[in-house]
C-alpha cells in the first residue's frame, strides 16, 4: 500500500444554524485503499461526506483530491470530478433498463441518435468486471437489491470514479450478497480505485478495510491502519469512553445493592425478523430493568418492535408468563400487558394536534369508554393525576401536546403506558433529545417504577445509562444476542468488550 495520497480533507468546519456539525474534521484516503469511516449517530460522518460531494458547502478547511484543490457545488460535479457516492437507498430508476441506469447522464450518440448497441456493450463490459452477468435490457427493478447495488457501482465506475463512497452498503444485503460486494470492492482496489466505506458492522470493517477514521462529535478522533487498532479500542473511541479510566456517576440511575430479580416474565427464543434481527434470545425478570446494548444497526429497536407486535417475526418464539405469546398487532401486546415508548417521539409517539389529555389516554381509550363513548370524567381524573404525579408542565389537559417541551412530551408518553398499569414497559431511547434536568427525572422515574414491580426493557445508546441503570444487559451485535450481563458484571468495560468482540466472558444467553 503506497502512501499515495488521493484525498485530503483538512480542518473542515461546518455549522448548521450556528450549531457546529463538523469542527476541524480531517480525512485522508490513499489511492487504492478501502477506508472505513465510523462513528455514532451525529458524529459527523454524513456531513463530512456531503461536504466532500458538494451537497453542503464547508465553512472552513481544505479539500485536495488528486493533488489539486477540489471545489464542487453539487454531487453531479463531484461525480464528474471522480468521486461517486452509492447511497443506502439506491438512487437509480427502477423502471428503466440496466443499461439506461448505467449510462444515465452520458449517453453515447451516433449520427445524432442514441447508440443503444454501444451502450448495452459498455454496460455489460462494466458489469463483467465484477463477474456479474445479466440481461442489461431488462428494467433494473427486476433485480435483487444486491444486483442493483452492483449496477450502482458499475455506474460509478463508468464515470471513471477514482473514489467511491459507500454509505452502509450492506444494510439490506444477506451474507452471501455481502461476500459478492466485498469481492467487487477488492476488484476496485486492485484497479486502483479507493473506497470510503461507512458501516456499523465491525466484522465487515476488519474484513474489507485497510484503514479507518473514527469520528465523534464532529471531530476526527483517530485515523489508523485496521491492523493497528483493536475492536475494543475502535468501539470505545467511537463512543468516547476511555477504557482505562471509566468511573464516576453520570446518570441519575442507581442500581439496588442486591439482586432481587423475580420470576421470568417474558422469554424470547431465537427471534428473527426482517434483515436486522437474526437470532435474539433473552429473558426479562419481574421488577427488573433489562437493557439492550449494541451499536447502531445491532437490531435493538427492531427486536423491541417485534416484541410489541409492530413487526412480524420470521422465526423464533416468545412466552409471556409461561404462555406462548405471538402478537400480530400492537393491540395484542397491549392487551397482554405490554407498553412501548418508541425512540422517535415525533414520528411514532405524539399525535401533535391532539391535546395532552387525548394523547395521554390514547391507549387507554378502550378502558375508559362504555359503548364506544368516552367517559370524560374518568379521563379527566386520570389525566389530572398523571400531570400531577409526573410533574408534566402544561397549561392544562387541553393544551396541544406539540406545544410542550421534549421532556414533557416524553412524560405524557410514559403516562400513556403507565395509565395502563402494564406488566412490561419497553422504553426505546427514553432520554434522547431532552434536556439534562428532565433526563434525570425520567431516569429516577424508571427506577422507581421498577422498584414498584414493573418490568422494564430499556434501549439506550448511552453507555452510561445502560451501565448504571440496568440490572441485566443483553448485548446485541448484528442481529444476535452475543452476551448477557447481570448485576456486578455490568460495567462499561464489559459491555464495550461484548459489543466489540461479540463474545463474552461468562454465560451465553438463551438455550
Amino acid at each position: 500500500m503506497g502512501a499515495d495520497l488521493l484525498l485530503a480533507m483538512q480542518g473542515v468546519d461546518k455549522r448548521f444554524a450556528g450549531i457546529p456539525a463538523l469542527s476541524q474534521a480531517t480525512l485522508e484516503v490513499n489511492a487504492g485503499e478501502v477506508h472505513a469511516l465510523v462513528g455514532q449517530n451525529g458524529a459527523g460522518k454524513s456531513t463530512l461526506i456531503k461536504v466532500l460531494t458538494g451537497y453542503h458547502q464547508r465553512d472552513a478547511g481544505e479539500v485536495t483530491f488528486l493533488g489539486k484543490p477540489f471545489e464542487v457545488s453539487s454531487p453531479q460535479q463531484a461525480q464528474a470530478g471522480g468521486i461517486s457516492t452509492i447511497y443506502q437507498e439506491i438512487n437509480l430508476v427502477p423502471l428503466r433498463s440496466v443499461t439506461e441506469n448505467i449510462c444515465l447522464g452520458r449517453a453515447k450518440r451516433r449520427f445524432g441518435l442514441l447508440d443503444w448497441r454501444a451502450m448495452h456493450e459498455e454496460a455489460e463490459h462494466l458489469l463483467n468486471r465484477f463477474r456479474v452477468r445479466l440481461d442489461v435490457r431488462r428494467p433494473l427493478g427486476d433485480f435483487s437489491t444486491a444486483t442493483q447495488q452492483m449496477v450502482a457501482i458499475a455506474r460509478a465506475i463508468g464515470f471513471s470514479a477514482r473514489l467511491v463512497i459507500m454509505d452502509e452498503p450492506t444494510s439490506s444485503l444477506d451474507e452471501q450478497e455481502v461476500q459478492v460486494l466485498f469481492d467487487v470492492i477488492r476488484q476496485l482496489k486492485a484497479d486502483g480505485v479507493s473506497v470510503i466505506f461507512v458501516s456499523h458492522k465491525l466484522d465487515e470493517l476488519y474484513d474489507v478495510c485497510d484503514r479507518v477514521t473514527i469520528m465523534r462529535d464532529g471531530r476526527t478522533v483517530r485515523s489508523a491502519d485496521m491492523s493497528d487498532i483493536s475492536k475494543l479500542e475502535l468501539v470505545s473511541q467511537m463512543l468516547g469512553r476511555d477504557v482505562s479510566k471509566m468511573e464516576g456517576h453520570a446518570t441519575a440511575f442507581s442500581r439496588p445493592p442486591a439482586d432481587r430479580s423475580g420470576e421470568v416474565v417474558l422469554t424470547a427464543r431465537s427471534l428473527a425478523a426482517g434483515q436486522a434481527v437474526r437470532d435474539v434470545s433473552f429473558e426479562l425478570h419481574r421488577g427488573e430493568i433489562a437493557s439492550f446494548a449494541g451499536l447502531l444497526g445491532a437490531g435493538r429497536t427492531e427486536t423491541a418492535r417485534v416484541v410489541f407486535g409492530a413487526d412480524p417475526t420470521r422465526a423464533g418464539s416468545m412466552y409471556l408468563d409461561g404462555r406462548a405469546y405471538a402478537p400480530t398487532h400492537p393491540r395484542d401486546a397491549i392487551e397482554a400487558g405490554l407498553g412501548f415508548v418508541s425512540e422517535d417521539r415525533k414520528l411514532e409517539g405524539i399525535v401533535p394536534d391532539m391535546s395532552v389529555a387525548d394523547n395521554l389516554t390514547l391507549a387507554l381509550l378502550p378502558r375508559i369508554s362504555a359503548g364506544g363513548v368516552v367517559d370524560e370524567g374518568k379521563q379527566r381524573e386520570i389525566v389530572d393525576r398523571f400531570i400531577k404525579d409526573l410533574g408534566i408542565k402544561c397549561s392544562g389537559p387541553g393544551q396541544k401536546i406539540r406545544e410542550l417541551s421534549g421532556g414533557n412530551q416524553q412524560k405524557v408518553l410514559l403516562a400513556r403506558w403507565l395509565a395502563m398499569s402494564p406488566d412490561v414497559l419497553i422504553l426505546d431511547e427514553p432520554t434522547r433529545g431532552i434536556d439534562v434536568g428532565a433526563k434525570g427525572e425520567i431516569q429516577r422515574l424508571i427506577r422507581s417504577l421498577s422498584d414498584g414491580g414493573l418490568t422494564v426493557l430499556m434501549i439506550s445508546s448511552e453507555l452510561e445509562e445502560v451501565a448504571e441503570g440496568a440490572d441485566r444487559v443483553f448485548v446485541l451485535r448484528e442481529g444476535r444476542t452475543v452476551a448477557e450481563l447481570a448485576g456486578d458484571e455490568i460495567t462499561e468495560e464489559t459491555i464495550l468488550a461484548a459489543m466489540a468482540q461479540g463474545h463474552v466472558s461468562h454465560q451465553e444467553p438463551g438455550q
Binding site: 401533535p352 381509550l365 417541551s405
Partner: protein, 331 residues
C-alpha cells in the same frame, strides 16, 4: 426540543395569533358579514322563503361533506362521492318502479331506500378496503369509483332518464313535517350526530389519531385499518342519502347528472370550514359553516345580478383564502 410553549399563562394578548384567530373563527365571521351585507343590500333577504331556498340547496352538500370531513380527518380524501350518489340515485327508482312489488308502494319505497343506501355504503367500504388493505393513496383509490361509479349508474339505467311521481319516496326531498323540509332535518341530525361522535366517542378519537399520526396511533393500539374502512363506508352512506334526496327533489334520476361535481363542493366546504386537509384536526360544525358560506356567497352574487360564472371564480377565491389561512397557522 426545549422550546418554550407559545401559550401564555397570564392570558396576555402580547402575542395574539391573528392567523390562528382567523383560521378558527374566519368562517363564522365571513358568514355573519355575508348575512349583514344581504340584510342591508339584498331585497327580500329576511324572508322564510330565502332561508328555505338556501337551506334546501346546501343540504346535499352538507350531508356529503359530513362524511368527507371524517375521511379527510384520517388523512384521506373521497373523490367517489358524486358517483356513489349517481349509483344510489339510479338504483332506487329501478326498485320502487319495479313491477314485482305489485302496487305495494310502502314496501317498494322502503326496499328501494334501504338497498340504495346499503349499496352506497358498500361502495364506500370498497374504497376503504383499497386504502387500508392495499395502502393505495386515497386520491387514487377513490378515483376508481369516481370513474367506474358513474359508468355503473349509467349501465344500470341504460343511460335513460328515469322520471317518476311517487310521493311516498319523494317525501325525503319534498316532505315538510312541522314545516321543516325533511332533508334539512336529515342534515341537522347528521351534523349533530357526527359532531358528537367526533368529540365524545372512541371512534372519533381513533379518527383524529389516525389522521394526526398514523404510526403513533397504531403503536397505541388504535385499529387504524378498521377506522379507515369505517370512515369511507360512512362517506358512502352519506353520499347514498344525498343521492336519494337529489332525485326526490327532481322527480327524476339522470345518471349523467346526479352528484356531478359533488366531490369538489364537499371538499371545498370541508376546507373552508377549517378542517385540516392533511388530517388530524376536523370540525363538523365548521364544515356546516363552510358549506353555508359558499352557498351564501353564491346566493348573494346571484341575487345582486352577478352571473354564475363570476360566482364560481369568487368561490374558488374563498377556498384558496381558507387553505392559505390554514397554512399560515401551521408554520
Amino acid at each position: 426540543m426545549t422550546d418554550a410553549p407559545p401559550w401564555r399563562s397570564d392570558g396576555a394578548l402580547a402575542n395574539f395569533d391573528v392567523f390562528g384567530f382567523l383560521a378558527r373563527y374566519g368562517t363564522l365571521i365571513a358568514l355573519l358579514l355575508l348575512v349583514v351585507f344581504n340584510l342591508a343590500f339584498t331585497r327580500n333577504f329576511a324572508t322564510l322563503q330565502t332561508l328555505n331556498v338556501n337551506l334546501t340547496q346546501v343540504c346535499t352538500i352538507v350531508i356529503v361533506a359530513v362524511g368527507m370531513t371524517l375521511v379527510i380527518a384520517t388523512g384521506g380524501i373521497d373523490l367517489s362521492v358524486g358517483s356513489i350518489m349517481a349509483i344510489a340515485g339510479a338504483l332506487a327508482p329501478l326498485i320502487f318502479l319495479s313491477p314485482i312489488f305489485d302496487g305495494n308502494v310502502a314496501v317498494a319505497v322502503a326496499v328501494a331506500m334501504v338497498s340504495a343506501i346499503l349499496v352506497a355504503t358498500l361502495c364506500g367500504l370498497f374504497n376503504g378496503w383499497l386504502v387500508a388493505q392495499f395502502r393505495i393513496q386515497p386520491i387514487v383509490a377513490t378515483l376508481v369509483l369516481f370513474i367506474a361509479g358513474r359508468g355503473i349508474a349509467q349501465a344500470l339505467t341504460n343511460s335513460n332518464l328515469q322520471v317518476f311521481r311517487v310521493p311516498e319516496f319523494q317525501w325525503i326531498g319534498l316532505g315538510r313535517p312541522l314545516g321543516l323540509p325533511v332533508q334539512v332535518i336529515i342534515m341537522v341530525v347528521l351534523v349533530a350526530f357526527a359532531a358528537w361522535m367526533l368529540r365524545r366517542t372512541r371512534f372519533g378519537r381513533s379518527i383524529l389519531a389516525t389522521g394526526g399520526n398514523e404510526r403513533a396511533a397504531e403503536l397505541a393500539g388504535v385499529a387504524v385499518n378498521r377506522t379507515k374502512l369505517a370512515v369511507y363506508a360512512i362517506s358512502g352512506f352519506c353520499a347514498g342519502i344525498a343521492g336519494l334526496v337529489v332525485i326526490a327533489i327532481n322527480s327524476a334520476s339522470d345518471a349523467n347528472l346526479v352528484g356531478l361535481g359533488m366531490e369538489l363542493d364537499a371538499i371545498a366546504a370541508v376546507a373552508v370550514g377549517g378542517t385540516l386537509l392533511v388530517g388530524g384536526r376536523a370540525t363538523i360544525v365548521g364544515t356546516l359553516l363552510g358549506a353555508l358560506t359558499i352557498q351564501l356567497v353564491r346566493y348573494t352574487l346571484l341575487a345582486n345580478g352577478v352571473p354564475d360564472a363570476a360566482a364560481l371564480i369568487v368561490k374558488a377565491g374563498i377556498i384558496a383564502l381558507a387553505v392559505w389561512l390554514q397554512q399560515q397557522r401551521r408554520t
